[in-house]
């Protein structure tokens, strides 16, 4: 009991400290490349955290999240470009549509176990990509290009400064992390982990594993769609290749797994390492042709997964344990039965 109290205290201390620093960020990073990187860190952390609900806590490795992300992006994009509305109603419809699509896709896929689920979700990305390429109502292969509208929160669009986007990304991040933090301590979160650890065992304890997985998938997809809506507002254009690609799906998976799937801090850690790496390698070596950043990506993943399968958060935990053990050992190892 004592130990967990201490850990949450530390968590809130770090949290308060970070929040206090937030207003300083735009001043330091005004309109620079750094600001862009920070926004992407928050966006990718949010995306990976959305994926983490079903992929990490639920243990169902989905390579289909680009589809949900894309649906959210198209929802906001079509509201603005096709209908001349603010992006908000489009984002909302996109979230609902993504949740519905996720449930429809997952229901048959969840009958497949383990790797087959992952493979099935792979195929779905390709199907949606092709479908959106030839679907003229959503802009086809050309995609949607934003026209000039009034900037501000109502239209979720800014031209001169990235500060507005930064704060929006921060809200997105706080929302999704808050939801996952709430779920962690809630019955649903426990059931989700129980299903991951042993579906038959969970069922023997009265857990309807299909319902748990489907709800987790729907929530995860809706939040991924919300991230997609932010993404399109930030890029001011969308086409199928940008959002509904395996490349995009991999980003969800890699950031979460590299950071530590199934942990609250993992997606943030993963994004904090991968995004700067990706953006700076692209800025430095972009002229060599796309790919150098991906080579480094791949190399890093291999190193981390081999060294610590639980990702960066696993490494952090090991280091924290080693530090915690030192004073305990000095006391004669009396810390074994801390309860």
């Amino acid at each position: 009991m004592n130990k967990t109290l201490k850990r949450t205290d530390l968590f809130w201390l770090a949290f308060t400290g970070l929040v206090a620093l937030v207003p300083l960020v735009p001043a330091i990073a005004a309109n620079s490349f750094l600001m862009h990187v920070l926004i992407l860190v928050l966006l990718y952390a949010s995306m990976a955290q959305a994926w983490n609900i079903i992929g990490g806590y639920g243990g169902q490795t989905s390579f289909g999240h680009a589809v949900f992300f894309g649906i959210g992006a198209y929802g906001a994009g079509m509201a603005v470009v096709t209908y001349g509305l603010p992006p908000w109603p489009g984002a909302l419809i996109g979230m609902l549509a993504a949740a519905v699509v996720a449930v429809l896709i997952s229901y048959p896929c969840f009958k497949l176990s383990g790797h087959y689920f992952a493979i099935a979700t792979f195929a779905i990305v390709e199907i949606f990509n092709r479908m959106f390429l030839v679907w003229y109502w959503v802009g086809g292969a050309l995609g949607l290009d934003y026209m000039i509208v009034e900037e501000g929160l109502a239209n979720l669009m800014w031209y001169d400064s990235k500060t507005g986007y930064f704060y929006c990304a921060l809200v997105l991040f706080a929302l999704i992390f808050g939801i996952v933090r709430f779920l962690e301590g809630h019955r649903f979160g426990y059931y989700l982990r129980a299903v991951r650890e042993g579906q038959e065992t969970a069922e023997s304890l009265g857990v309807n594993s299909t319902a748990v997985k489907l709800s987790a998938m729907a929530l995860s997809a809706a939040l991924a769609a919300l991230c997609g809506a932010f993404f399109v507002q930030y890029n001011l254009r969308v086409d199928p290749g940008m959002v509904m690609s395996l490349d995009m799906s991999m980003k969800f998976v890699l950031v979460a797994i590299l950071g530590g799937a199934g942990t609250l801090a993992g997606p943030l850690l993963g994004a904090a390492v991968l995004v700067p790496l990706q953006e700076y390698t692209r800025a430095l070596w972009g002229g060599l042709g796309g790919g150098v950043d991906l080579i480094i990506f791949g190399f890093l993943i291999i190193v981390i997964v081999v060294k610590q399968p639980a990702g960066i958060s696993g490494i952090v935990r090991d280091v924290a344990r080693r530090i915690a053990r030192r004073p305990a050992a000095a006391k004669g190892g009396a810390s074994v039965g801390t309860s």
């Binding site: 426990y190 129980a194 069922e203 023997s204 304890l205």
Partner: protein, 252 residues
């Protein structure tokens, strides 16, 4: 009316008949032992009753309702909860969280469930391991975890699949004490067990399976004299020993 009624249940795997028209009842508040040699179909029967396997033929009733063909989570929610012979800890979760998953069944409120989980952990002697990953427990601990987790769901019928196999004799004694305690709380028990010294003294009734067929059903005192049971399973020596122990009054 009986809490559990198994009526003519047959389970085939292809041509292999694992259970052949097995019928028996479990009365509320009793302890029923399910015994028989390896491969007699005890665990298969458990899997049928708990909804893990669909039955090939026959019907199962629990607490006044038919449960044949229901998914296992629905049967668990009705109050028939089982443990697994091959222990299945939720490995990456702590012992406490394992039991908490069980406790959430009838305690959606977090605080209530946590309290229930804590008391089950204490009852099963797992307090010192509560914060450890369940995968790190020694085998005896994992067996007790199976019990604690099932108990936390507040079942009406607790089905134990060889919880005492592989335990030391001291551990068996503790387990028996625990099972008596569980019965006193008003929970009915159906126990698959190989350790005869453990099951015979506590069971109100024993059902004996051999080759998928029920060969006997009755109080332990009668079962140990049943010639078919002795031939199929117990052996002459054991029967004499149990008899001698009974007459000597050293019934533990």
């Amino acid at each position: 009316m009986a809490l559990l009624e198994v009526r003519d249940v047959t389970k085939k795997f292809g041509e292999l008949v694992a259970n052949d028209r097995v019928s028996f009842t479990v009365e509320a508040g009793t302890i029923v032992g399910l015994i028989g040699p390896n491969g007699a179909g005890k665990t298969t029967l458990f899997n049928c009753v708990s909804g893990l396997y669909p039955v090939t033929a026959g019907r199962i009733f629990f607490d006044g309702a038919e449960v044949t063909g229901l998914p296992s989570y629905r049967i668990a929610r009705m109050g028939a909860v089982r443990t697994f012979q091959v222990v299945r800890p939720l490995k990456d979760m702590t012992v406490f969280d394992n039991v908490l998953v069980g406790a959430f069944l009838h305690g959606a409120g977090g605080a209530q469930a946590r309290e229930a989980a804590e008391s089950c952990i204490e009852l099963c002697g797992l307090t010192e391991y509560a914060d450890k990953p369940a995968g790190d427990l020694p085998i005896g601990g994992k067996k007790r975890l199976e019990l604690a987790r099932a108990l936390a769901t507040r079942p009406k019928l607790l089905m134990l699949d060889e919880v005492m196999a592989g335990l030391t004799s001291t551990e068996v004694k503790a387990a028996l004490e625990l099972i008596r305690h569980i019965r006193e709380k008003g929970i009915t028990l159906l126990i698959v067990e190989h350790v005869m010294e453990a099951i015979m003294p506590i069971a109100d009734k024993v059902v004996v399976l051999d080759g998928g067929i029920k060969i006997a059903e009755g109080p332990p005192g009668e079962i140990i004299h049943d010639q078919r049971v002795i031939t199929a399973y117990l052996g002459e020596k054991f029967s004499r020993r149990m008899q001698a122990r009974k007459e000597g009054g050293a019934n533990g």
